[in-house]
């Protein structure tokens, strides 16, 4: 199978690899996929106010899955949570020229962004409750 130049570029030089402190209240973590399916993505975001100031990922998966999650971290950085929620898997497919068999990789990346945002929102709400209590 031939890979697009952009997939190869992200695979060879993945952006924002690493981990953020998941215990921090401003960090949201999304882990999606399952090892037996051959894909697990962990995407983390750090927010200041409503804006994503940092993003990190680690992915177990094929080159397209690695590229999709690497691209996702690039795209969410600097966006507000609402803006990041608007990222669609089809945009990832288009940007990376993913073939049909690899569309699930982009779906997983979109899911990972959503899961990370949901996590940080939940943390924020429980903090607010603690403060008001």
């Amino acid at each position: 199978m031939a890979y697009s130049d952009k997939v190869l570029d992200h695979y060879n030089k993945p952006r924002n690899v690493g981990s953020l402190d998941k215990a921090k209240s401003t960090v949201g973590t999304g882990v999606v996929g399952a090892p037996e399916c051959g894909d697990v993505m962990k995407l983390q975001i750090e927010i200041e106010g409503d804006r994503i100031v940092d993003a990190k990922f680690k992915t177990f998966g094929c080159g397209s899955a690695i590229a999709s999650s690497s691209l996702a971290t690039e795209w969410v950085k600097g966006k507000t949570l609402d803006e990041a929620l608007e990222i669609r898997n089809t945009q990832i497919v288009q940007e990376l020229s993913l073939p049909p068999v690899k569309i699930h990789c982009s779906v997983l990346a979109e899911d990972a962004i959503k899961a990370a945002i949901a996590d940080v929102k939940t943390k924020r709400e429980s903090d607010l409750k603690k403060e008001s209590a």
């Binding site: 981990s19 399952a34 177990f60 080159g63 068999v101």
Partner: protein
């Protein structure tokens, strides 16, 4: 050293220059049809075919009359299984095979199921082996055929064919073995090993693609097959079609070379295979061996690199042409049916690589391959959330995964 390095010898092999030389005359002046009995062109072609028959028969301990030429192993498998089913179907409708067989056997078995045959698919053990005891338990009064491979193409595990053959002989059941990966790589003797039918393919043993044969026992017992193609009645009526004379000459020469060099080449490949494993496992933790340590092909090494996905690994080791048991390499998203049948776990199946070592493999290539594998696995593990979790002491089997695609 030329890059990329070919390390996929179970998929196919390059044609040996000596084989090519043996074939060339039959593309040029000696182009006759082996079935032409009335002139020297035909006689020359027939002589080439007869010589090849002897060379093949000699390698596997058969008589030249027992060789039926085909287009390769897939055709030979179809001919053996369907040919037996058609001939002996009135006697019984039961066939025994195994889940880790090649698709050519499994799909032929499925075809026969649609025609009213009953097939028992044995599960191999975790090393990929089927025992004679398991076969004995599966045999019934109406069993007409046992079809089990000699050497597995993905993990290199050898089945105890001699014992299985003896059992089948005793019970009056025909025994067919797909020896595509075994012939020319390890000693094969259809007499001592109690084989009734056996297939082999030229391109796995440094011969050309598109030619192979089926060994069909002529005595004790005499195996009869119903031809699966209608035509001129070539090959004792079992396989019609003008013989592929250059291909057959090549197959014969390939067998002759294998026979001459077998012992020496086995030792060389075992040494290189073990060197590769040592060089990889000494520098990486968590490497899982797939297969059977004791009963295995010399030139095959299947390793899983947990926490790294197979396709991304293949992408990284771009200097080496190898094959993955992971699915993503093909259009289906399923991991290898062989590793599945062995029940090694889907996670290990997704991270497996088959290294195939062959006649042209050098120690320098092994070194380069090992270095690249180690480097890429380390890099991808840095990227792997699973490896991170394992280092944190999390048992991955206890994690409630959100679900994949």
């Amino acid at each position: 050293m030329k890059l990329p390095i070919y390390m996929d010898y179970q998929a196919t092999t390059p044609v040996d220059p000596r084989v090519l030389d043996a074939m060339l005359p039959y593309f040029k002046g000696e182009f006759g049809n082996a079935a032409s009995r009335s002139h020297p062109f035909g006689w020359q072609a027939e002589k080439a075919v007869d010589t090849a028959r002897e060379e093949i028969a000699s390698l596997i301990g058969a008589s030249p009359k027992e060789i039926v030429f085909t287009s390769g192993s897939t055709e030979a498998i179809n001919l053996a299984m369907k040919g037996v089913a058609d001939m002996y179907g009135a006697k019984g409708k039961h066939i025994v095979t195994c889940e880790s067989e090649h698709k050519a056997v499994l799909d032929t078995a499925k075809h026969l199921e649609k025609e009213g045959f009953e097939v028992t698919y044995l599960a191999p053990d975790i090393t990929g082996r089927v025992t004679a005891e398991a076969v004995a338990e599966a045999l019934r009064e109406d069993t007409i055929l046992v079809a089990l491979m000699w050497a597995n193409n993905e993990v290199g595990t050898l089945n105890p064919v001699r014992e299985i053959g003896a059992l089948c002989r005793e019970r009056g059941v025909l025994f067919f073995t797909d020896a595509t990966q075994a012939v020319g790589k390890i000693p094969v003797d259809v007499e001592a090993d109690n084989i009734d039918m056996l297939c082999l393919s030229a391109h796995k043993i440094y011969g050309p693609k598109g030619v192979g044969c089926l060994y069909v026992r002529r005595r004790k017992p005499r195996v009869r097959l119903v031809a699966q193609m209608d035509g001129g009645g070539h090959e004792r009526g079992m396989r019609s079609g003008t013989l592929n004379v250059p291909g057959i000459a090549g197959l014969g020469k390939a067998c002759a070379i294998c026979e001459e060099e077998l012992t020496e080449e086995m030792e060389r490949e075992i040494r290189l295979r073990d060197l590769l494993e040592e060089k990889v496992t000494s520098r990486l933790d968590h490497v899982h061996f797939n297969g059977n340590r004791e009963h295995r092909l010399p030139g095959c090494l299947n390793l899983s690199f947990p926490y790294v996905e197979g396709e991304s690994l293949l992408m990284g080791i771009s200097d080496v042409a190898v094959s993955s048991g992971s699915a993503c390499t093909s259009a289906s998203l399923e991991p290898s049916h062989v590793l599945r049948a062995m029940a090694v776990g889907d996670e290990l199946a997704h991270s497996s690589i088959r290294f195939g070592i062959g006649r042209n493999t050098t120690e320098e290539e092994i070194e380069h391959c090992a270095n690249q594998v180690v480097e890429v696995v380390k890099r991808l593990r840095e990227l792997s959330p699973l490896y991170e979790m394992v280092l944190e002491g999390i048992d991955l089997s206890t994690v409630n995964w959100a679900g994949g695609h």
